[in-house]
Symmetry: C2
Subunit: 282 residues, 2 copies
C-alpha cells in the first residue's frame, strides 16, 4: 500500500489486490460487526490485499427495521472512525456499508476509507429497491462517486443500482476502472450475480467486485455468489453460498487490453440515446 | 393473421407465433435466397407462425465485399416486391436483411414486410461493427424503428446494435414488446448470444428474437445459437450450430406479468443519466 487519499504510483502501473468479504456479523450490533471486521481485515492484509470490500449494510445489517434510524450516523461518525483505525492498523483500505445520516435524511450508503484511516469517498444508493429500501432511506442523487487507490480509479454502486446498465455506463464513461458493488441479494435472484453482473462488466469494460451477504434476515435469505469479474467478462472470483474471504488482483494492464480489443465505449452513439434521459422515461 | 400494416385485434390480446430462420442461401445470389425464403415461409406458415425473421443480410450474404454495392437496392426495390409476394402467398410477415440504397448511401438494413405484402418498417443499423461494416455502409441515425403486428409492438435492431444497452433501452422506453435482431455473429463471440442477449431482454423487460447465420463466409465462421428470450430472461428457443427453423409464441400476457413483477423500467432515474448522451461520451 503506497498511499491513500489520492493517486498512488504511476497510474495503472501496478495490480491492486482486492479482498471480497462475503460475510457479516449478526445485524443490529455495529460493535460486534467491527470486531469481526478487524479480524477479516487482518486476514486480508496477510493475503496481501490492499482493499477490502464488504456487503451492503455490512456493519449494521440490512433488514433491521427501525434499527436503521437508531444506527444511522454521519460519514465521520464513530463507526467511520473505528473503521479508519482498523484500516490504519492493517494497511488495508476498507469499503463498508452503513445507514448514513446527514442530520435530516438517512441514506443507504457505502464509505471507502483509505489505508491511512481517512474517508476517501462516500456513495448513497440512487436506485432504491422495493418497499424495504423506500421505507428506510432517501435516494442518493450523485450517480458517479469515485476515488483513486493504488493508481486505480474506483467507483461505487450499491446492489440494485448495478442492475441498471445506465448506472454502470456512467461510471465507465467517467473513467471508473474498478466498480465496487456491496449488495444484499436474496434468493431466488441469484441470476443477477451470475448473469447480469458479468454482462455489466463486459458491456462497459470495467472490473466489478460484487460482494453479497450470505446470512438470513427475517424472510430474506441472501444467496452469496459474490464475484470479481474482469472487463472481458471473465469471472476471476466466484463465492459459494457461505462465509468466505476471496482475494484476487485487479490488473490495469488487463483492463487496457480489454478496452483496446473491445471498442464498445468508443462505438457508442450518444446522439441517439436522448430517450434515456427524458424525465418521463423512468 | 388478422391484418398487416397496422394494429391487429385488441392490443396484446393474442400471442404472436414467430419463426426464427437460422439459415441462409449462399451469398451474392438474391434469387437463390428468395427461392429458399419461399420454402421457409411455407414451412413457417404450416407451423402456424405469423412472423418469420431471418439473419443479418439474409438475402445477399454479409461478408460479400464489393457485391454490397452491386446488390444494394431501395426499400421498394425488386427484392422487397418479391418478399412481399412470398409474404402475401403464405400469410406470414417477413423480416429480412439486405443492403439498402437511398440513391446515394448504402445502409445495412432490415425490412419488415407485412402479410399483405407491403413494407411495414425499415431499420438501418446504427452501430457499425468494425472495418467490414464501416467499409461498406453508412450508419443509420434512427434509433427506434417500430411496427405493430398482430397487436404486438415490434422493434428492430441489427447485430452489434443489441450489444449496447442504450439501444435496447430506447426501444423498451418507446414501447417495443418484441425486438427483432437479425445478426451475423461469428466465433468466438458465442457469449453475446448466450449471455448478453438474455441480459438485454431481462434488464429492459421485452422479448428479443436474435436470429443468426450459421454458414461461413471467407474467414467468418458464424456461430448459430439463435434465440428467443422472454422478458424474464427465460430462453424460449435456442438453436444449435446448424440450419434450423424454430417456432414459439410471444405472449403479451407474459410480458405484462414480467413488467409488473420486475419494475426496472419504472425504477430508472433518468435525471442521473445525462453522461450517457454527452457528445464526447462515445
Amino acid at each position: 500500500m503506497s498511499r491513500s487519499g489520492g493517486t498512488g504510483a504511476a497510474i495503472g502501473a501496478v495490480p491492486l489486490r482486492i479482498a471480497l468479504d462475503q460475510g457479516t456479523a449478526p445485524g443490529g450490533d455495529p460493535r460486534g460487526a467491527l470486531t469481526r471486521l478487524a479480524g477479516v481485515a487482518r486476514a486480508a492484509a496477510e493475503a496481501g490485499a490492499r482493499l477490502l470490500v464488504g456487503p451492503e449494510m455490512s456493519l449494521t445489517g440490512y433488514n433491521i427495521g427501525a434499527d436503521v434510524a437508531r444506527l444511522a450516523e454521519p460519514s465521520d461518525g464513530p463507526v467511520a472512525r473505528e473503521v479508519g483505525r482498523i484500516a490504519a492498523e492493517t494497511g488495508v483500505a476498507i469499503a463498508y456499508g452503513y445507514p448514513e445520516s446527514d442530520g435530516g435524511r438517512i441514506y443507504n450508503a457505502v464509505q471507502l476509507v483509505g489505508a491511512a484511516g481517512a474517508p476517501l469517498a462516500g456513495y448513497r444508493k440512487a436506485h432504491l429497491f422495493g418497499e424495504l429500501d423506500r421505507a428506510a432511506y432517501s435516494p442518493g442523487d450523485d450517480p458517479v462517486v469515485q476515488a483513486t487507490l493504488g493508481g486505480l480509479r474506483l467507483g461505487m454502486l450499491i446492489c440494485y443500482d448495478v442492475e441498471f446498465p445506465e448506472a454502470v455506463r456512467a461510471h465507465a464513461l467517467s473513467g471508473t476502472e474498478l466498480l465496487l458493488v456491496p449488495t444484499a441479494l436474496m434468493h431466488p435472484h441469484t441470476g443477477i450475480a451470475t448473469s447480469l453482473v458479468p454482462a455489466r462488466a463486459f458491456e462497459s469494460q470495467l472490473y466489478i467486485a460484487y460482494v453479497n451477504r450470505c446470512d438470513t434476515e427475517g424472510e430474506l435469505d441472501y444467496c452469496g455468489s459474490s464475484c470479481l469479474v474482469a472487463p472481458g467478462g471473465t469471472e476471476l472470483l466466484r463465492a459459494g453460498a457461505g462465509e468466505e474471504l476471496l482475494v484476487a488482483d485487479v490488473d490495469p494492464t488487463v483492463l487496457r487490453t480489454a478496452r483496446r480489443d473491445n471498442t464498445y465505449l468508443a462505438d457508442r452513439r450518444p446522439g441517439l440515446y436522448a430517450a434515456l434521459t427524458e424525465p418521463g422515461s423512468g
